[in-house]
Amino acid sequence: MQTDPAVPQRRKAHAALAPAVFVTGKGGVGKTTVAAGLALAAAQADDGAVLVEFGDGEAGKRALGHKPRNLSHVAIRPQQAVLSAAAPLFGSATLAKLALGNFAMRPLIQAAPAIRELAVLELARQVVAKHPGRRVVIDMPATGHSIAWLKVAQQGRELTGTGPIHDLCDRLLRELLQPGQASIVVVTLPERLVLNETLSLCRALENEIGLDVDRLVVNRVPTMPPAAALIDARRLAERDDAIGAAAGKLSDLLTVRASVWSQVVDSLQQGVGPGANGLTLLPQAPADPTASTVAEWLRHNGAA
């Protein structure tokens, strides 16, 4: 049986990550744990890191476990984000609250999600500006529209042409959404369909946003079952007794795992190619890995 074709570049050095790291991917791919792992690895390596999470902050807290040294964890609630991001536009938080909290603006903001997305980006920019020299890892909200999140500043700038929203979008594009300022880490799973979707996302990010995907993290990659065990189990399964039947069950299970494994290898080879830039494979584990386990894996892969 062939060995893992992706193994050789596992230890390949990856391009360095920028000060701001956007971690994106579909729901359920382990995005939060990878983001926490990246932040933790940076915190352990140098002057400190910030993990930015959207929501109540519980997911990041769970992944991090106890609060690590050198790492601040910022949770941003989307509703708050709009008010905080708008405060400088209106001159003060009170005026922003007055202007946006009225009977017409409140429902507009609730129904027009582009506003929330812009606010969230602006807050991310503020966090980066507030922590010079520190790695800021931004765990993006799980959505099918991660392109839309990053494109909103571009669209906002084009749409407005002038005025305070234009200036806000322009600053976002100049100070945050620039190669060298921001890195994109895409987390995905080793299933053909998910992988295909991810690859078209990567292309879109590069073409439409102008940001390269610096890391493609394929999470939960199964290990190949040992070939010798399968051969032995198959041989023993030929016996016509209870032990033979039990060995048959083991061989069936290992056969399924071997076929899942080869499908994964196929998808990776077809989709990403063996020489892909920034490809990082993380193993499948029987229990949820913690951020420190993931940080260790990422370091081992040269991807931290």
Binding site: K26, R62, P113, T143, I165, L193, V194, S259
Partner: protein, 360 residues
């Protein structure tokens, strides 16, 4: 007319919600129902698993056994906004053309979360009527915010139906300096401030709102249809979870979210919760013929299954503690390369439990 039964499956990402929903729909179809599975999850996993191409129309799924009918519906999220306005402006082709030219609309067309769900529900309502569906299984987006869309039509309706739109349109005119000063109400400082901040886009926004106001009636009708589907008396909510800490937290969050919408959860589906019988492991462990490489594999299998059993016990205890009234249903952990095989296996388990979800 009595509407169909509706089962909404919600859960965090990665719990196998799509597969479990498809299995439930398959089991219902095999029991003789005319079932429809709707996937809001933008992934094409379900389509692939069911072996059909899915788009904005409900497609028939081939069943190997006699019984009811199974249809699959998975609208493309990238086309949702367009589909949405095409439905709304069916009777107003000129307004539709103007809208498609509007710059704000063009920005929104890319992706408006919430709209996709609304469109999916509208297409669901159409499919129900077209195919005389009697039970619908809705696979929601894999996220904590999956049930947000239940309240979204209402939020949009408040925006479009209330005074807000008129006020915003006025603001837009002021921002463009087109208002007539004589007799106009006094402009407040806040309004001036808003007009300044929103200034450059306010014209397009006003035009957009004016077009939307034209189709308010169709919008209200659409909204009612969706509300009936999601909030009707025959609608049940299942929470799908898997034995991971993240899935457990997401499940608790979703149950609480549903409660704030006055919806009570019907049951919890604990997916990937039952490992296969370990008899063969014990037998091979005792057998002298078992080789060293086999023993290594047996040890790691044992470790895997013990870890899973522990995780399942933790999550099950957590739910029993906080929601003792909620029945928990454990689904097997299926190791199969083919998604269709996994769905078939889960459907066989669910077949004996259907009375929990639907009337006979």
């Amino acid at each position: 007319m009595i509407g169909p039964e509706v089962i909404v499956c919600a859960g965090g990402g990665g719990v196998g919600k799509t597969t479990a929903s498809a299995a439930l729909a398959l089991a219902l179809a095999r029991s003789g129902k005319r079932a429809l599975i709707v996937s809001i999850d933008p992934a094409r996993r379900l389509a692939d698993a069911m072996g059909v191409t899915l788009d904005g129309r409900a497609r028939s799924v081939t069943l190997d056994t006699p019984g009811g009918k199974l249809y699959g519906l998975m609208p493309d999220p990238r086309r949702s906004m367009r589909t949405f306005v095409e439905i709304l402006f069916e009777q107003e082709p000129q307004a539709l053309a103007r809208l498609l030219d509007n710059r704000i609309y063009q920005v929104l067309e890319d992706a408006v979360p919430g709209i996709h769900e609304l469109v999916a529900m509208t297409l669901t309502a159409r499919a129900i009527a077209e195919h005389c569906i009697d039970v619908v299984v809705i696979d929601t987006a894999p996220s904590r915010f999956a049930v947000d869309f239940v309240g979204y039509p209402d939020r949009l309706a408040k925006l479009l139906g209330g005074r807000a739109v008129g006020w915003l349109a006025q603001l837009a005119q002021r921002g463009q300096g087109r208002h007539d000063d004589s007799g106009a109400p006094k402009v407040t400082r806040i309004e001036r401030l808003l007009a300044w901040v929103l200034g450059p886009v306010v014209g397009d926004a006003a035009a957009l709102f004016a077009e939307m106001a034209l189709v308010l009636d169709s919008f209200v009708a659409l909204n009612q249809q969706t509300s009936q589907l999601l909030l009707g008396p025959a609608t049940k909510y299942l929470i799908v979870a898997a034995p991971t800490a993240a899935a457990q937290a997401d499940a608790h969050y979703l149950i609480a979210q549903l409660a704030t919408l006055q919806i009570s959860t019907t049951a919890i589906l604990l997916n990937s919760a039952v490992s296969p019988s370990r008899d063969f492991v014990d037998l091979l462990d005792k057998a002298t013929e078992t080789t060293a490489p086999m023993r290594d594999v047996l040890r790691s299998l044992d470790y895997e299954w013990q870890s899973r059993a522990q995780a399942v016990a933790t999550i099950a205890d957590g739910f029993s503690g906080s929601h003792p009234e909620l029945p928990q249903l454990r689904l097997p952990f299926v190791e199969q390369a083919e998604p269709r095989e996994i769905i078939e296996t889960l459907a066989r388990v669910l077949a004996t439990e259907l009375c929990r979800f639907v009337a006979d």
